[in-house]
Structure formats: C-alpha cells, structure tokens
C-alpha cells in the first residue's frame, strides 16, 4: 500500500535530504589532501612550502570539527575570560541589546513622526526631500560623525542602528496613516470622536499592518547592520567576535558565528511575523 505523505512531511524530507547533500559536499571538499611530490621540485623547497609529501588537513573546518565547536560553544555560552574570550551568548546579548535599543529609539521617533506626516500633506511634502536624501545613505557612513560627536563606541553603534531603522518605519507609518480608508474616518467624524481617541482606536489599528511591516523591515536591516558596525567599533558583540576570530584565523569560529547570526536574525523576524498576524485584519 502506498501512503501519501502530507505536504509538510514531503518538504521536511526534502529539507533533510538537502542538509545531507550539503554535509556530504562539505565533507568531500574538506577531505585531507595528500600531495604527491612533483618530480621536478626540489624536496627541500617543497618541505619549506609546507608540502613535503605529508598529508595535510584543510584549514577550512570539516563538518565534524564544526559540530564539535557547536557543541563546545553552545554548552557554555555565557563564560567570560576577559575582553577577547567571551561566550557566544554574551556576544549575542550585546548585539541584540544594541539592536533593540537603536530600534526602539527609532520606533519612538518614526511612528509619531510618521503619524504627523501621514496626516498632513504639508508636513509630508516638507519632509519628503530630507527623507529621500537621508534614506539611501549607508548607515555606516554615519559612524565617524557618531564617534566624533558621541565619543562612545557602543552608543555610536546604537546610533547607527537608530538611523538605519528609522526610514522604513517612518515611511511605512506615514503611508499607512495617509491611506486609512475615508469611510472609517467619516464614521469617526460623524461620531464626533476626539482626535486622540481617533488616533488610537481608528487610525492606529487601521494602519497597524503597514506600520508593522515597516518595523519588520527595519529590524531586518538593523540586524544586518549591527554586525558591520561592531566590526568597526570593536570591543563586544557578534560582529566584533567575527572579526576577532578572523584575526585568530579560526574559520571554525567565524562559521559558527555566521550560523548564529542567521539563527538570531530568523528569530527576530519571526517575532514580527507573529505580531503582524495579530494586527492583521481582513476587509
């Protein structure tokens, strides 16, 4: 008897198969290569170059080495042996804290400002050129200015997160607020709803899906930018960890950090996925 697999089961199987293929290719690519001595090369020179006929392990980590690192790092994520040797949990916590600080500061500015811009054509048109010029600037370009004025590396990276999270939230809030259906506004006008109640009970829920979409984009960008920002400012954080391990030539740790960045990014995004579902409405 044939049993049909559900769609979920099929895709899980395919995912696992793909994982197997990746591991296999990875394993094959990192197999120790045995270098046979070329006849016309001076053996002494070859030995000098690290060949010497001996089998040599690839400097790129094998899946097994990677698994070992994963286990080691994740089983003790919060140790602290000084500035250059902290657990991955601590490094990630620094990064997440900076991202959240910058992100919520940006939300505190962007959402009220977006409300004002979305409600007023005059404000919209007055601020539009600024937004258009400031938006395409790479957030890292602000770093020297931030370091000069704020004079604190950690605060500067928070500022960079702030500036990069600001624009998607601002634009989406303004767009969402400006496009609230006229019917709903007319209803609140005929019911003589006061402005504050209208803002929170009508406009905010009506624009919430658009606003949240902006927040989600902002969070995604913020998580991308924090790695680069921390590579620049150093000290703590997952970005610094990556750079530090590159300087240590520990590709295993770099690879491990890359994986962690992906996992945390996914987790942050899924939080907004849940929130989006909660504020979504069907007309």
């Amino acid at each position: 008897m044939k049993t049909r697999l559900s769609l979920g089961q099929q895709s899980t199987l395919l995912s696992l198969a793909l994982f197997g293929v990746i591991l296999l290719v990875w394993q094959l690519a990192t197999l120790p290569e045995t270098q046979t001595l070329a006849a016309d090369v001076d053996p002494e020179y070859a030995a000098l170059m690290g060949g010497g006929g001996a089998s040599q392990a690839s400097s790129f980590p094998t899946p097994a080495a990677m698994a070992q690192t994963l286990w080691d790092k994740l089983s003790d994520p919060f140790y602290d042996n000084g500035p250059n040797d902290k657990g991955i949990g601590i490094q990630l916590a620094y990064s997440i804290a900076r991202v959240l600080a910058g992100f919520f500061l940006a939300a505190a500015v962007a959402i009220p400002l977006g409300f004002v811009i979305g409600n007023s054509r005059v404000f919209y048109q007055a601020l539009d050129p600024y937004v258009q010029v400031l938006k395409p600037i790479s957030p890292l370009a602000w770093m020297p200015l931030a370091l000069y004025t704020i004079k604190d590396a950690s605060a500067s990276s928070i500022f960079v997160i702030f500036i990069c999270s600001l624009w998607p939230m601002l634009i989406n809030t303004a767009h969402g607020v400006a496009n609230v259906r006229k019917d709903w506004l007319d209803v609140s006008r005929t019911l003589e709803v006061n402005p504050l109640r209208k803002a929170f009970r009508v406009i905010l829920p009506a624009a919430a899906p658009t606003i949240l979409a902006g927040m989600r984009i902002s969070m995604g960008i913020a998580w991308l930018v924090i790695v680069a920002a921390e590579m620049l400012v150093g000290g703590t954080g997952i970005g610094y960890f990556v750079w530090n391990e590159w300087n240590n030539l520990s590709l295993t740790n770099v690879l491990f950090a890359i994986l962690m960045i992906g996992v945390v990014g996914m987790a942050l995004d899924s939080v907004f996925g849940v929130l989006s579902k909660r504020v979504a409405y069907q007309e």
Binding site: R181, D186, T190, L191, R197, A206, A208, E283
Partner: protein, 311 residues
Amino acid sequence: MATKLTSPFLQIENLARAYPSPTGGDAVTVFDHVNFHIDKGEFVCVTGHSGCGKSTILNILAGLDSATTGNVFMDGREVSGPSLDRGVIFQGHALMPWLTVLENVSFAVKSRWASWNKQKVRDHAMRYIELVGLKGAEHKKPSQLSGGMKQRVGIARAFSIEPKMLLMDEPFGALDALTRGVIQDELLKICAETQQTVFMITHDVDEAILLSDRIMLMSNGPHARIAEIVNNTLPRPRERSAIHKHPHYYPIRNHMVDFLVSRSKQFGALRDAPDAPSSPAVFDAAGLIESEPVAASTPSVGKPHIHLVNA
C-alpha cells in the same frame, strides 16, 4: 402625513454646490436652488440619476461636506459640521474590520455616552444588535459576515447612538434583491417603533415607495434641482406583499418612473424658461385618483402582480 409645524425640524435653504472645473474653466455647479424641509418623524427619500448631487446633499446634511452657498438648519440651529445628532449609514457599511460586531456598535455608543461604564455600553449595544437580528453574531468580525449582515451592523450602529436624524446613502445598493427586501422590512419596523426621522438616498423606486412618506425627485445635473415631490399616500403600516394592491401604488410608481425616464432630462430646459416654477411640483396620488378614476386601473395592465422585491 406631513403636518407643517411653524418651523420644520430640518430646513434646507437655497443649497448649491460647485466644483472647480477639471479643465480649468468655469466652476461646475452640480446642483443649486435646493430647498426642502423634513418634519420630525418623517421618512424622506430622494432619488435621481447619478451625478445629480444626491450624495453631496447627504454629506452636507451629515456635516462631512460643505455647501458652496445655502444653509442647513436642524432644530433651529445651523449645521456646520458632523454631529452625533445625525447618524449616517454609509453605502459601503464602513465597519471597522479589526473590531467585532459588538465592538463596532460599542465604539459608537461609547462615542455618544463617554461616561457610561463598560457594562452599560455593552448592554445598550446589544439591544440594538438584537434589534437588527444579529444576536449570536456579536463576537464575529465583519469579514465573517455576509453583505446583508454587515449592513445590519451599520444600521444597528447608526440607531444605537439614538440620533435625532438618520441619513442613509443607498444603504442597500450593494445587496442582492432578497436580502434587501428582508432588511427593508426590518428598517420599516424599526423606524415605526422609534419614530426616527430619516433622509435616504435610493435608486430603487419600489424601495422609496415602501419606506417613505415623501419622495423628492431630482433632475439631472449639472444645475440639478429638486424638480418634483411625491407625497406617498400609501397608508401605514405597509406590507411588502400588499402595497401594490393599493390603488395609489401604481400611479405613484408610474409617476416616478416617468420622471426618471423622461422628465428628469427635460427639466434642465424648463428651468431656464422665464415662467419656470420656483418650487417643485407636488404630486399627490389621492388628488389624481379623484379626478381621473381610470388612471388607477390602467397601470395594472401588464404589471406583474407577484412583485417579489425589486423588479
């Protein structure tokens, strides 16, 4: 029906609305010299072709739009903006999709009586939800309701604030004929119970005859006016299944249809004539039947006697 008081409940004087021309020429006057009044407890329908400015008039009455010239007085006070005294039932129900039925109605109730506690607001809202027959669906979101049910929520919301006057902009235009009939019957019942003053726009001749005390017929725009007023002499209470048997039914209906088909166009030329009537002609079926006894019987020829909802 309309017994004239010294000062009518709603008085509209010389209302006109002009829009700037899209091509940059002279402003386009949609309607002008619109005068009418509505007495307390009266149900007035207005009908006319698209573009004659019916919805604009309603929006001006609601305070959502403003007239170019003219005034609207309600209860002796000038209407200058939206007010809880005038409830509006919108064409596209205009429910807030993130709120449940109960929350939608409660939102209106809370707007009217801000000092009421939760329980009182809820009880009041529930009373009107029951009135429109939606008990049991109060925790549903609008997206889970049919078109007819959504419009009922709109009706419950408008009635729940107990406005002095109700404004309806083609409230049943988007509903199928059967649902429309059912809701019209309910509206008829609720209006009879509450003695609600209503101003309603409709394109549906039968709907107007079923519901209204008076029907205002508007000529075509631009420069639309209230060309004629029909006194709906059909006695109340009215039954959908029986009204077409009344001798006044077809004279009224034919008069309206004739107006909409032909006279609404001709009025434009008439208006500029030096002897143009300064006030709309009033059609009264009672007078007509007395003078022309034949008129009552002729229209029934070729008319279906089984008259479902809206032919």
